[in-house]
């Protein structure tokens, strides 16, 4: 039978299944331990975890024994369904709320929207390169012009050239 660790005390840390006495199949050992692994990855409190496990066990007892695919899919669907009830019927939002619980403001209804809201919305600006004249001849002309200017200024300081102008 399926013995929950909270029901049997801290010593019983693993599920105990006895197919001979319990309607659950041996394959359910793996299924339940997988579901347990799933639950262990989310920070439920003890009461939530216990309730989810009980719901899962109950569901498994109601499922046909001969189709492991159905049992597996329905078990997980049940688990998701019950997790969803923890947060306004949305399983994904429930997982997110549990994950962000330490920082999520209490009044937030949609954690996903809140998380996206923490990302800044773009305010578009244009950034485009300006045209650039890279011609070597134009550059040399500019340098020559500037050199001419320097020379002219220098020549003006010389009395003869300065007076000639």
């Amino acid at each position: 039978m399926y013995v929950d660790q909270w029901q049997s005390g801290p010593a019983a840390v693993e599920f105990d299944f006895s197919p001979a006495t319990d309607p659950m199949a041996a394959g359910d050992v793996l299924l339940l331990s997988r579901m347990d692994a799933y639950l262990s990855r989310l920070p439920f409190d003890d009461a939530q975890r216990l309730w989810l496990r009980a719901e899962l066990a109950l569901q498994l007892r109601q499922l046909p024994m001969d189709d492991p695919a159905i049992r597996s899919a329905r078990a997980f669907a049940t688990l998701q369904n019950r997790i969803a009830t923890l947060h306004r019927g949305d399983e994904w939002e429930a997982r997110l709320a549990l994950t962000l619980r330490p920082v999520l403001p209490i009044e937030i209804e949609q954690p996903s929207r809140w998380l996206r809201g923490q990302q800044l919305q773009p305010e578009r600006t244009k950034m485009a390169s300006a045209p650039m004249q890279r011609s070597l001849s134009a550059f040399l002309q500019r340098q020559a012009q500037s050199l001419r200017g320097v020379l002219n200024r220098g020549l003006r300081l010389v009395p003869f050239f300065g007076s000639a102008r």
Partner: protein, 681 residues
């Protein structure tokens, strides 16, 4: 073009640069004339012209470094007690309450824990200053690897949770990472640039102190004409012998060169792409990078964007200041010789591209000089190589014309003709002088204890110089190859950089340097009869460097050797004696809150209910792709995640519904082999 009143530094800087030009040109020309007298007697005219031309170019280049260090030495001796009226530091003012700064960290497939640790260290440091309200942080991911993408995303969420910083630290991943890092920064400017007056660009291995960031904000606020403020990041945190030597030399000699650079540049400073504060509006308006005409590697996108951005900022009339004395700015250097050369390969291509902007209109002469100087860092290698070949030709001609070992054509060593010895001595002074000046400065300013004490400092300088001399020919060969590859049209792309201390295995060293070692050994054992004793002795350091390249690459990459040196106080730097808090916070225990993503991060994001929930929340519904994602979900479920390509994983990861669907479907499976493929058995 924007012109601000009160650019009093311009006339001063022009005068200083004329002095620098004279100091570079006159000794180079004088030594050229002296060498010409020597060569004219013994060399054919073509050999004489080539040898002279290359000698003058190379000497001019090393003398630029020497004069910069010498000026820096005197600037440091004089101290900053007498600031000039236009120094931006003295015009700083208390920031307005609404002054906003975005601290952006562009990343590309980086080691996430280290990246987050750096960002967190900056954040906490700012928090301690009590000035956090001016700053927001952006982790700008260009990662293409789905493993990196989801790890970054989960780490960001954990960091925000740890610091309670949702809304203050943002994460954005670009689906298309065109134009690499510069495109990443430009994308930030386009999306959010309007919201911030300033941005601080950090590399993935950068750390900056809160005090420094706030001080930069004050300087920016008091100087509305300044477009970029560049700090001098200090290399820290490495443990391989190679990186520790680099850290030591940069920390010891760097302040002289930095002070000298600041003296020449003033408001026409440089920008190295990170650890700098930028005024966003002019950057957005003027610093979008042009695409060079023609095919890569010399055409197309710029591989090195920083120098160009500084030049464009200055072209638009904004000032670019280098503030080396600010402190509180750190980075990490490449851990091994191979990683250093890989970085040089990219820089070589980038710097060669810059030469195509030399004739661009409106650029300031200081930035044209920076372009030339940057390119010369790599062009010097082939020039030196050609110089050595010309020397060998000269030697061969000498032997052909019946020379003897007692009198040598190009290399007359002895009292008869002391000129070559003088040329050698002057060159050596220009090369090693800055090292000596740095030691004098450190001793004079009583900082020797921060380098392990005077004895350790002197030993460190000696060993660093020996290693630098021995590695010089290896760099020469590789830099020459890089230049030739670039000119031949073989380009490289930006890739993820190695940030951790990874040792170089022998096989990798042999693959990269085996031929060099072989050539070095051949010369070492076979060249002496051909060259004669003196010529051989002259070239011995080069042959030795080549021959030892394989063991040098291996041994200098070892952390154990670096830590051994550290225990003996060799190559210590002040940051290792008094470790700043920001650097202490880079250790792994400060990021132990990060989620442990073991194995395949894509699988973890599908399987783990928390990771899946967070990741899905950050994606959107890509309804247009649902046909594709449905097929990919089916493939993932039937064949397993290992069969998905990187592109297919990226498509699935980018669609919220696909990720939620996969999560449900994977957990609903029952077949053991399929469950095992997702790590659920």
């Amino acid at each position: 073009m924007k012109h601000h009143p009160g650019r009093g530094w311009e006339a001063l800087s022009q005068g200083r640069r004329r002095w620098l030009t004279a100091l570079i040109a006159i000794p180079a020309a004088a030594l050229g004339v002296l060498l010409q007298h020597e060569l004219a007697l013994s060399q054919p005219i073509w050999l004489e012209i080539f040898t002279l031309g290359i000698f003058v170019l190379l000497f001019a280049w090393i003398s630029a470094g020497f004069w910069t260090a010498l000026v820096g030495f005197f600037v440091l001796l004089r101290g900053r007690a007498r600031p000039v009226s236009f120094d931006p530091e003295i015009l700083s003012q208390h920031p307005r309450a609404d002054a906003r700064v975005a601290v952006i960290m562009p990343i590309y497939n980086e080691e996430v824990a280290r990246t987050i640790a750096g960002l967190q260290a900056c954040y906490r440091s700012l928090q301690r200053t009590g000035k956090l309200e001016h700053f927001e942080f952006f982790l700008l991911s260009d990662s293409r690897d789905p493993q990196s993408w989801v790890t970054e995303e989960l780490a960001w969420a954990s960091l925000c949770e740890e610091l309670n910083a949702f809304g203050r630290i943002h994460y954005r991943r670009r689906p298309i990472n065109n134009h690499a890092k510069s495109g990443n920064v430009a994308d930030f400017c386009r999306r959010w640039g309007k919201r911030y007056e300033y941005m601080v660009v950090l590399d993935a291995d950068s750390v900056m102190a809160g005090d420094t960031l706030y001080r930069m904000l004050e300087v920016m606020e008091g100087n509305p004409q300044v477009g970029i403020l560049q700090t001098q990041p200090v290399s820290v945190n490495r443990s391989t012998l190679y990186a520790r030597i680099q850290q030591f030399s940069q920390r010891l000699y760097g302040p002289l060169f930095s002070a000298g650079l600041r003296f020449w540049q003033l408001g026409d400073g440089h920008f190295i792409g990170h650890n700098a504060m930028i005024r966003v509006a002019p950057f957005t308006e003027h610093c979008a990078l042009p695409i060079l005409p023609g095919p890569a590697p010399l055409g197309g996108q710029f591989l090195s964007h920083d120098f160009v951005e500084a030049a464009l900022m200055a072209r638009a009339g904004w000032e670019v200041w280098f503030l080396p004395e600010l402190g509180g700015s750190w980075e990490e250097s490449p851990p091994t010789l191979i990683d250093d050369l890989k970085r040089d390969r990219r820089w070589a291509q980038g710097n060669m591209q810059h030469l195509r902007l030399l004739a661009a209109d409106g650029l300031r002469s200081a930035h044209r000089f920076l372009f030339i100087n940057g390119a010369m860092s790599f062009l010097a290698a082939p020039l030196w190589g050609i110089f050595l070949v010309l020397g060998a030709i000269s030697g061969l001609l000498f032997w052909k014309h019946g020379g003897s070992t007692s009198s040598m054509s190009l290399f007359h060593y002895g009292v008869d003709n002391p000129l070559p010895v003088w040329l050698f001595a002057v060159t050596l002074t220009f090369l090693l002088g800055p090292k000596l000046l740095a030691v004098i400065w450190v001793h004079w300013s009583r900082q020797a204890k921060y380098f392990g004490g005077t004895a350790a400092l002197l030993f460190g300088v000696f060993f660093e110089s020996v290693i630098a001399i021995v590695l010089a020919p290896v760099r020469m060969v590789f830099h020459s190859l890089f230049v030739l590859q670039t000119l031949a049209g073989r380009g490289v792309k930006w890739g993820a950089q190695v940030r951790g201390d990874q040792e170089t295995p022998w096989a990798v060293a042999v693959r990269n340097f085996g031929i060099l070692s072989l050539v070095g050994l051949l010369f070492l054992f076979g060249a002496q009869p051909l060259l004669g004793f003196w010529h051989f002795a002259w070239l011995l350091p080069i042959f030795l460097g080549l021959a030892l390249s394989v063991p040098l690459a291996v041994f200098t990459s070892r952390s154990s050797w670096g830590l051994w040196a550290r225990r003996r106080r060799l190559f210590l730097i002040p940051e290792e004696i008094q470790v700043p808090r920001e650097l202490r916070e880079l250790s792994p225990e400060y990021v132990d809150f990060l989620p442990q993503v073991d194995g395949d991060a894509f699988v973890a994001t599908v399987v783990d209910p928390r990771f899946n929930a967070v990741h899905a929340a950050l994606q959107r519904d890509r309804a247009g792709l649902w046909g594709v994602t449905a097929a990919l979900c089916n493939k993932a479920l039937t064949l397993g995640p290992a069969e998905l390509s990187r592109r297919e994983r990226n498509i699935l990861l980018s669609d919220r519904q696909a990720m939620l669907t996969l999560h449900r479907a994977v957990w609903s499976q029952h077949e053991p082999e399929k469950l095992a493929a997702w790590g659920l058995l």
